[in-house]
Symmetry: D2
Subunit: 375 residues, 4 copies
């Protein structure tokens, strides 16, 4: 019930504040015998999310070097909890007294004080509400991904991309997953990525910030994952993505656009597949029907609001109820959405592994029985 854990059968718990000595997580329920190495399996994903990798993200420098302190022995998971820790090295000794009682617009400051009481919050760098916590989601997601690859084989993948920054969307005709690795925006459309350089630079120079829309896609997952009513796969994905800092919307498959469609255009027709199973003509459903995976790619999108920390002054209030003006100095992402791509991937991987383990429990060796499932 306490709010710092995610998942059921595969479950991680995160801890740590932005400017405390370290952040960390405990990953519980990981199957045993999976090869796992922090440098090889975790660090590449953490490096993607890391600040300071291009001029389009915050220049805060954190090596974000993850260490595994338990649960791995002689290079393989043992089935016991995996503790991951990252020391906070860039805790600048700046003076936070100014902001300690300020409620920055768009930030969690006011809400935390309402929840926990005025005066107990660790205000340094956003404390617990800092996006720094998401490094631990990436670490847990990296473990989940390793296990999923081990169980499902090389056809499994989970990938994230940015499909819109500000008002500028990609052209889906240009979609190229390889391109995502080639530009600093996780953008699958090379032309859009070029336009975004100017767009993001411009916002940064204005002291403003931009929102974004991201898309995460998992492929090679079996049909049958998800509980039918309250642990629906899409419901858990929605919770997972909405829990990421600054996310304001989540959709699966056609999402909000499905509201504008007519029934005959909204549901994926099925046909016998060459392998004797089921093939879908389309993927309007985004890989989920009735809350359960169909074996098609699981496709989810989420919207990230513009960075709250901007140089442009905004009216606000302090903990004493006095009117103030807030202008956030320091190093900030002009578009926090960009770095959300590896975080979205990670959360999706965790949801999928959690449900895979639960489904194995329910069906045991009978499952999977339907290999019709890959469309």
């Amino acid at each position: 019930m306490a709010g710092n854990s995610f998942g059921e059968a595969f479950r991680f718990t995160t801890w740590g504040e932005s400017h405390g000595p370290a952040i960390g997580c405990v990953i519980d329920g990981c199957p045993p015998g999976i090869p796992l190495d922090a440098a090889v399996d975790l660090q590449p994903y953490l490096d993607k999310r890391r600040p300071g990798t291009s001029r389009f993200v915050t220049q805060r420098r954190e090596p974000d070097e993850a260490k595994i302190l338990s649960g791995v022995f002689e290079g393989r998971t043992t089935g016991t909890p995996i503790a991951v820790i990252i020391e906070n090295t860039d805790q600048r000794s700046r003076d936070y007294s100014e902001i300690s009682r300020q409620y920055r617009p768009g930030h969690a400051d006011f809400a935390y004080d309402a929840k926990y009481g005025v005066g107990v919050r660790d205000y340094r760098g956003g404390g617990r509400s800092s996006a720094r916590e998401t490094a631990m989601r990436v670490a847990a997601g990296a473990v989940a991904r390793k296990v999923l690859n081990s169980i499902l084989g090389p056809t499994f993948s989970v990938r994230g991309s940015v499909v819109q920054i500000g008002k500028d969307q990609i052209d889906r005709a240009n979609w190229d997953w390889n391109e995502v690795e080639q530009n600093p925006f996780f953008c699958p459309d090379r032309e859009a990525a070029r336009r975004w350089e100017t767009l993001v630079d411009s916002a940064r120079k204005d002291g403003s910030s931009l929102g974004a829309i991201l898309e995460v896609v998992a492929e090679g997952i079996p049909a049958g994952l998800g509980e039918p009513i309250y642990g629906k796969l899409d419901s858990d994905v929605a919770a997972a993505l909405m829990s990421i800092n600054a996310v304001k919307g989540v959709e699966i498959g056609d999402g909000f656009a499905s509201a504008s469609k007519r029934g005959e255009d909204a549901h994926d027709a099925m046909r016998p597949s060459n392998s004797g199973g089921v093939a879908f003509d389309t993927n309007y459903a985004g890989g989920v029907l009735g809350g359960i995976s169909t074996g098609q790619p699981l496709v989810a999108r989420f919207a990230v609001k513009p960075t709250s920390s901007i140089l442009i002054p905004r009216p606000s209030v302090d903990a004493d109820g006095k009117a103030i003006e807030v202008r956030t100095k320091g190093r900030h992402d002009p578009c926090v959405g960009i770095r959300a791509a590896p975080i979205g991937e990670a959360m999706l991987a965790v949801v999928l592994l959690d449900h895979l383990i639960r489904q194995r429990g329910l069906r045991g060796s009978e499952w999977p029985s339907l290999d019709q499932s890959r469309g």
Copy 2:
């Protein structure tokens, strides 16, 4: 972990199939001493969701009369589990053998078979995946609402509305909550409601169906509800709404539109309120910052895809992998989104009560200490 329960401190578990003898739920964690009467407190909400109330919803006739079998004594809750049951009276003895092995496009049939194995599913009327299950969400929500009103007083409300059917959106300038009760669409815009009569009639006559977008709003809630990381209030709302049948997207406050905004236009400025607390100029955040309520109205929207059961034939496959054509006969909603308004309200009420109880546990009599919180 099993997937038929929702909530933590206030928790309900539903059971039952569309054409079984009954459906029901068990509501656990309800505070004691709250007056509760099935006819007065549950039935009005169930009647709103009930089929057969207008020509725009399915004509299946179910009185949907809820009985309370436990947890209430001499008219008040005792703190023990509240069991609610509705007998299924309209179980027509039609022949389901034709559809028993068919996978209807857009329905959960194929996914259930993948999950549970071919041949065990209760296919009659959709079985467990039927929208009939949502009656129990409405019952649980009605209990939550009663408790919330009892704790928070008359300023608390949770209301749902339909803001778009097909491509036709309401005009927000016309918004009138009273209007929602006056038309069969839960529409707050009288003019849109008139247009929708024609729109929905037309879809029904074509044997097609329409999607919809709904908006649910809770007012009079205290600041401080929500766990900061994985039990965020908006994350739980997203899970709650996405778990409703046919929902494909959820957004909070500005939602997807926030991606197109710039930082200075995306975050709600604060000012000292007349009462010495905090007032917000706007509500872009939809009442949640950092996953915690701000005391502003909580505003969420969700998209419902068009009804899957349509008269227009669609290509599909049966459990033997043979190509078939599916055309759903029988009584169906031309727009299932309409009846989702009371369901969305109910789920929102459950999430709020769950977090209210948890926050009381965390803070005890210290809380609420910040009545600055109502903007």
Copy 3:
């Protein structure tokens, strides 16, 4: 978190008061495709627990006829929640006003009022705290047992017995499981059973009551069940048995006697088994090492205090704080421990299935790999 559910992957939730219209439970997480029939699979176990079966148990007459309302289709489980209901038929219209505000010694009356507030408790027949609730444990256990038999085959069994009533213990040299079915005490020692007739009759005639010690044994379970630290198999068994009404102690294997042993006599030696696995010389551990099953019989004992409802008057207090004298009239068990045998069996079966499902989830088709495990 709410307190009326038990189990994780296999989970049941009970509801209902002694004198309400019905009691029931919802069983979630049951694997699909298991043949299940209320009359064949549930009723025999309920009948064992049922009042009125001999002069040594309460004469309250409840047919306790269980109906399954969901989750079973064409004779097999579907994987969706199984709702079980028993109507309360023996709700005598006696006047409870006398006891409505009395705190009966040894009963939950005072504690319920402290928890829920004075005046909201359903005091009729003990309300929610009545042992009647345990009928639903037996129903859930019967489902668990059916699934376990289906997965583990005929070598699996779970059996309960009474090994002590008052100060009179059985002679273990006389142990005969067949005898348990032949006497009204679930006693494996025919001679002890004969003595107990006199003993229990005598207590009943005195208006007094007796305590008991029970032993439950599960055989044919695989090694490897149980989470190592907080979901230890023995920890869950302890919680399960201690949650039964009137239970005051639980032990596994040697239990409290192990405190008096020396190390060389307290730990089971192992030897290569004929089948190439591991055989244990003894079973001091009761089938659990480090919280995980060893494949040996799981042996647990629990102590049940004497029935609280006795004819002998006792000093007490009412809800107004006034001194009263309480003498419980009506039909009561002279030794509630007797009827706890089928309840203990049921709880043990639920714990085992829960962990079996979880272990399948963790290991998938790799497991069981160690069939050395049956000693």
Copy 4:
């Protein structure tokens, strides 16, 4: 569901192996604003459990210095997760290859291999199954105790003691809580403590080991804690204590002895108290009725088997199924039960705080309404 967390509203998760780089825990759900300092509030309890404090416990030297890495700011809890870490400093570089595939009698080795698969276990010093994990229970318990003292005031206490070693019980007439701090056995009877010196020395010299029975008592707790059916306070206490390494039995109040009593001697009579509430004549119930606290002292006992690691050789098997003889060298406790006293206290404190938070959530400011509750 994963097995390394304990508690619901107040919840801790432990990680770490005996010979890994560190062990730790994450404590979630801690109320904000509580003063907390590792050296002052945690270390004294850890020092009690620490090895090497007398010749009667293992001589392994671990300073067991706990550091708090998060959740505390400017000396007070913030409501966010509290991460505690202890580095493992005494990881002797001894050669474990001999025992890496041996199944030591009484140890978890065989069961772990059955659960996780042969060859993945961290066998060094028992790995995850080492009693070293219990240091983190003590840390979590110390936090719980601090919060309980803060909420309940100085009348609250939780204390543990050893009441039997081997066959030698204390004389309850000699009970003196102050004595517990004065001898190396946590023994409340000075005379027994003297006898135990000889007893334990003798077992150590023989290369053998002894079992023990412990008693933990919490005083100053309000009536009304505990969920009535499956989250019963005594059921949770049973799970908590049974989860401690080497524990084989748990009892509350009269425990197993209650089986031998007659009804008129087994239930605590009540009388009006001087303060207008309820006073109990006795405490046979151990402070719990119907699973809910009565306000009387909560009294629980648990049995700890003799240390499994002994110098006397025992027959066993290795992972290849070959017969071996095991003789555990190294530094071991002659009676592990001794150091279980602070662990039992800690687990009891965690259970009580968890239920206190839950009860506050259920009742809010209405509670406690019954101060009749302290007998």
